[in-house]
């Protein structure tokens, strides 16, 4: 499904308003099998950026009876998404599922800082240079904006595609409740509780990764996921650095091109044409390089980043299962103790049965989830790597054409210009 959007956002320092219309289908390929079920279709067609807050318009189209209307929209903030995610994580029922990772907070820090620096350096550049740099920054800002909308959208779409999670009550509230959700959001106590839980979890992490699992499948998954997570985290960071360097090179072309134009303007020798053509070429090149950088970012860096978060979610599932196992073992010990003391045996037996049930359920659904996760991951990687390679080839070919045209023009004008130089004397 193609999502088209009308995006309006006011820029922080300069208060520039943009209205852009574009077709978005990019980051969705990070996670496949989304929005296939037409009974519940979700998208984010619109978003507004004010100062630090981004307000998303969540639009739902549904044929399900559980909703009051077939087509409706609400306005949500990033914090609302986090609330929804955390609520799902803390729901016992979903312990055996991989909860889709929460979308990261919108981060406009980088383009904002650059915009600030640009403003400071305005005096040192020509007007043309400044305009181009500003355009570039605005494009970057837009890209960050696009990305954040997409990650939020994907989060919701993964929920709606999941057989269990799509039926969650809180999810429904999120989609439907036409008032501000801040009332339902975590209050301080809950937050503290959540924080505490995270601390305990990391202790578990240390504890659990030491215990060897009886079940081969889970043992393998555990080893694999732990290792893979650290590697993919590293790769994401390195890919990000690489993409940023690429952008820096593209930006340098802007400055060089502008200065060459200034020199060409003053020049009245045969060099003038060469300089102008060279400057023109660099201007075109920097656009291509910029696209190479942003394509690389979307297809590679974002892919890695997304799956890093997804693997964290898978790890969380493993921890929950491990904790259930620990609970079961504890209940066993309690039962033994109770039997020894002949006190509350029935209760202990019931407890033990419950724990075992929970653990088995977790294991069963966990296995299903993890297997499908692997399949999903492989497909996504394949798609993105192919697309990245194809785009790189396309851009490089374009560069070659641009260069060759320029060189040809120069060579022919070289002869022409030589004649002029001679003639002038």
């Amino acid at each position: 499904m193609i999502i088209s959007g009308l995006f309006k956002f006011s820029c922080l320092y300069k208060k520039v308003n943009f209205v852009l219309f574009f077709v978005v289908d990019q980051l969705r390929s990070v996670s496949v099998d989304l929005n296939n079920d037409s009974s519940l279709l979700i998208d984010i067609p619109d978003a507004l950026c004010e100062r630090d807050k981004v307000k998303f318009t969540v639009h739902t189209k549904t044929t399900l009876n559980s909703f009051q209307k077939p087509d409706f929209s609400v306005s949500r903030q990033h914090e609302d998404f986090i609330w929804l995610h955390d609520t799902l994580v803390e729901t016992e029922e979903y312990a055996g599922l991989i909860i889709p990772p929460a979308p990261p907070k919108p981060d406009f820090e980088s383009p904002r800082e650059k915009m600030h620096k640009l403003g400071e350096g305005e005096a040192t550049m020509t007007k043309e240079e400044y305009t181009k740099m500003k355009q570039e920054l605005e494009a970057e800002y837009l890209a960050v904006f696009k990305k954040t909308v997409q990650v939020h959208e994907i989060f919701l779409q993964r929920l709606s595609s999941h057989p269990n999670l799509s039926k969650d009550r809180n999810f429904q509230i999120f989609l439907e409740y036409d008032q501000d959700l801040s009332v339902r959001r975590k209050n301080a106590k809950e937050m503290f509780g959540g924080f505490f839980k995270n601390m305990v979890k990391s202790a578990d992490e240390v504890l659990i990764s030491g215990i060897k699992d009886v079940d081969e499948f889970f043992e393998q998954e555990k080893t694999f996921l732990l290792d893979y997570f650290s590697k993919i985290k590293d790769s994401t960071a390195k890919a990000e650095k690489m993409t940023r360097s690429h952008k820096n090179v593209a930006d340098d072309y802007i400055h060089i091109s502008a200065t060459l134009n200034s020199i060409a303007a003053d020049d009245n020798t045969a060099l003038k044409q060469h300089l102008e053509k060279f400057a023109e070429l660099l201007e075109k090149l920097r656009k291509v390089e910029g696209r190479v950088a942003s394509d690389q970012e979307l297809k590679l860096t974002e892919l890695l980043r997304y799956y890093m978060r997804d693997i964290q979610a898978a790890k969380d599932l493993l921890y929950r299962r491990a904790r259930a196992l620990a609970d079961y073992e504890n209940s066993n010990k309690a039962l033994d103790k109770a039997r020894l003391k002949s006190k509350d045996v029935a209760q202990a037996e019931e407890n033990q049965k419950q724990c075992l049930l929970k653990f088995d359920k977790l294991s069963e659904s966990g296995k299903k989830e993890l297997t499908s996760f692997k399949g999903r991951r492989v497909v996504a990687f394949r798609k993105n790597l192919i697309e990245m390679a194809e785009l790189e080839i396309k851009h490089a070919k374009q560069c070659v054409i641009l260069h060759s045209t320029c060189i040809d023009l120069m060579d022919s004008s070289f002869i022409f210009a030589v004649v002029q130089v001679r003639g002038r004397r």
Binding site: A239, I263, T269, F381, A389, M410, I415, R422, R424
Partner: protein
């Protein structure tokens, strides 16, 4: 015809070296009659020249017959002497292409100066007249002609600086470079020879050339800069990448410096240059050290010059000089800015290369850890591709630097040298003016003496004053001659410089573009090799 004796022109060295060629020069050009008529038709004459360049080359080398130039139909300027200079230049250049051997200081040219006011027009050939056929010929003959102008005989000289070797230990250590010259010029005793030189030798050479030629208006190419940090690292014996890069950068800079120096028609014939290239042993140029007596003297002079520059207010009567000075000022600023941007590009590309390499390693580890076999293989392949790409970026950064950035750095320094000769001209003018002022004073003193009333001392004083007046009259004349000479030289030098600049930049731009194309083509190759691997993930 020659009422006015030309000033102390440097006699044609060519005449001394190759007397036989001078004889050949006496034939009038075959096209002299075409130019003889109306000077206004010089445009067509130009065309004829231009279109017959190839044919002229096949004919025996000729030089212009000065007398054939008409004196009528010539617009005049108020600057008498400068006009003649202009004509001289024009004529040189006008006929330059027509001949294979052109001596810029040929003695027959001296009578030209007396030929009354010269045309101020620089004829412009409408390029439409040039036929395509000639274009092709031009292309072929271009280099030969350009080089032919620079020297009497066909320029054939190749200098390479290579094999940097560390000599000595500790703080007294230095790098010795092998300077190899390959030439067919008769100036040198052999066709191929090499010597060992150290950095201070190069500086010494430059210092000698500058003191000999700067004050008469020759643009002496500047030597590479000293670098305390770089050299200390080398001396200390740090065998790392940065000191290797420093040595390479310096080696390349020294090579370019020598090539530029010998490309100058006057400098290549200088005995110091020849000695530098040929002699096995060279007296150590101690005076190039910063703290030596000569070094300190240099600093003092520099300060004095800076002060003078501010105080001398020259009456510029020649618009050409004013225009050119302004042009070079602007170019200086722009080139510095461009240089800074390119240096930033080099830096970022190096960063990109490093980051790509580290990503490649990370991707390889990720591939190892991946349990899906096909995906694992694809990730490893991705790592390999990225590694190759990082090499590419590294090479491109190298090209960015050595082709583009170093050229800009060289030109920033060259333009400083150009500005230097303009300053020298100002100094020369100032000296001339000062001499005039002194002469005036002496004349006033003489006049005063006439009305003095001391008969006994009068005669002696009168004689003295008369002597002094004569002395200063001579100085004034000399000052004027010097000023004219330097102005003429500068015009010629600037023209040569501009031509060289155009050529250098064009060549570099095209080479640089070709390096960029190469990088992109390699990228295509690598990604196309990767694509099937990615598709193979099942």
């Amino acid at each position: 015809m020659t009422a006015w004796e030309p000033p102390d022109r440097p006699r044609s060295r060519l005449a001394y070296c190759c007397p036989e060629k001078m004889a050949e020069d006496r034939e009038p050009p075959p096209l002299a009659d075409a130019v003889q008529t109306d000077f206004r038709e010089v445009e067509e004459g130009e065309d004829l020249f231009v279109s017959t360049v190839s044919t002229a080359e096949q004919l025996s080398p000729t030089s212009p017959e000065p007398a054939s130039f008409p004196a009528e139909d010539i617009s005049t300027n108020s600057n008498g002497p400068k006009q003649e200079i202009l004509l001289d230049d024009d004529q040189e250049d006008l006929f330059a292409e027509a001949t294979e051997e052109v001596s810029l200081d040929s003695p027959e040219r001296e009578p030209i100066l007396s030929d009354g006011p010269s045309p101020a027009i620089t004829p412009v050939t409408p390029t439409v007249i040039i036929t395509p056929r000639v274009d092709a010929l031009f292309d072929r003959s271009l280099d030969e002609d350009e080089e032919a102008e620079e020297n009497g005989d066909t320029f054939d000289m190749q200098i390479t600086v290579s094999d940097p070797e560390k000599v000595g230990d500790g703080m007294n250590a230095y790098m010795a470079y092998k300077v190899t010259t390959k030439t067919s010029l008769s100036l040198f005793s052999r066709n191929e020879f090499s010597v060992k030189r150290r950095f201070s030798d190069f500086l010494g050479l430059h210092s000698k050339l500058a003191s000999k030629y700067m004050h008469i208006g020759y643009i002496v190419p500047p030597a590479p800069e000293k670098s305390i940090v770089g050299m200390t690292k080398v001396k200390v014996g740090k065998e790392d990448l940065s000191s290797a890069e420093f040595v390479e950068k310096r080696r390349s800079a020294l090579e370019r410096y020598l090539m530029r120096t010998v490309n100058h028609p006057a400098l290549v014939k200088d005995p110091d240059v020849i000695q530098f290239l040929e002699n096995t042993e060279l007296p150590r140029a101690v005076s190039t050290q910063a703290l030596s007596g000569a070094g300190i003297l240099r600093m003092v002079n520099k300060a004095a010059d800076a002060v003078n520059k501010m105080t001398i207010k020259m009456n510029e009567s020649d618009a050409w000089f004013e225009e050119k000075q302004q042009q070079f000022e602007n170019l200086d600023i722009q080139l510095r800015k461009l240089h800074a941007s390119v240096e930033s590009l080099v830096c970022h590309r190096k960063e990109l290369s490093v980051n790509t390499a580290s990503f490649a390693k990370s991707a390889a580890m990720l591939g190892n850890s991946e349990d899906h076999t096909a995906l694992s293989r694809a990730l490893s392949q991705l790592a390999e591709v990225e590694e190759k790409i990082d090499q590419l970026h590294h090479e491109q950064a190298y090209a960015d630097f050595y082709l583009f950035s170093e050229l800009l750095g060289d030109y920033v320094r060259l333009i400083t040298a150009v500005k230097g000769v303009f300053d020298q001209r100002m100094k020369t003018w100032s000296k001339w003016q000062d001499a005039q002022v002194m002469l005036q004073r002496k004349r006033e003193a003489e006049a005063k003496l006439q009305y003095a009333n001391k008969p006994d001392k009068l005669q002696q004083a009168k004689d003295e004053i008369k002597e002094e007046i004569e002395e200063w009259e001579a100085k004034v004349q000399q000052g004027e001659r010097d000023f004219e000479q330097i102005s003429k030289n500068i015009r010629r030098e600037v023209e040569r410089f501009e031509k060289q600049r155009v050529k250098d930049f064009k060549v570099v731009i095209i080479k640089y573009l070709e390096s960029l194309v190469h990088t992109q083509q390699q990228l295509i190759k690598y990604w196309e090799a990767f694509l099937p691997e990615a598709k193979a993930i099942a």
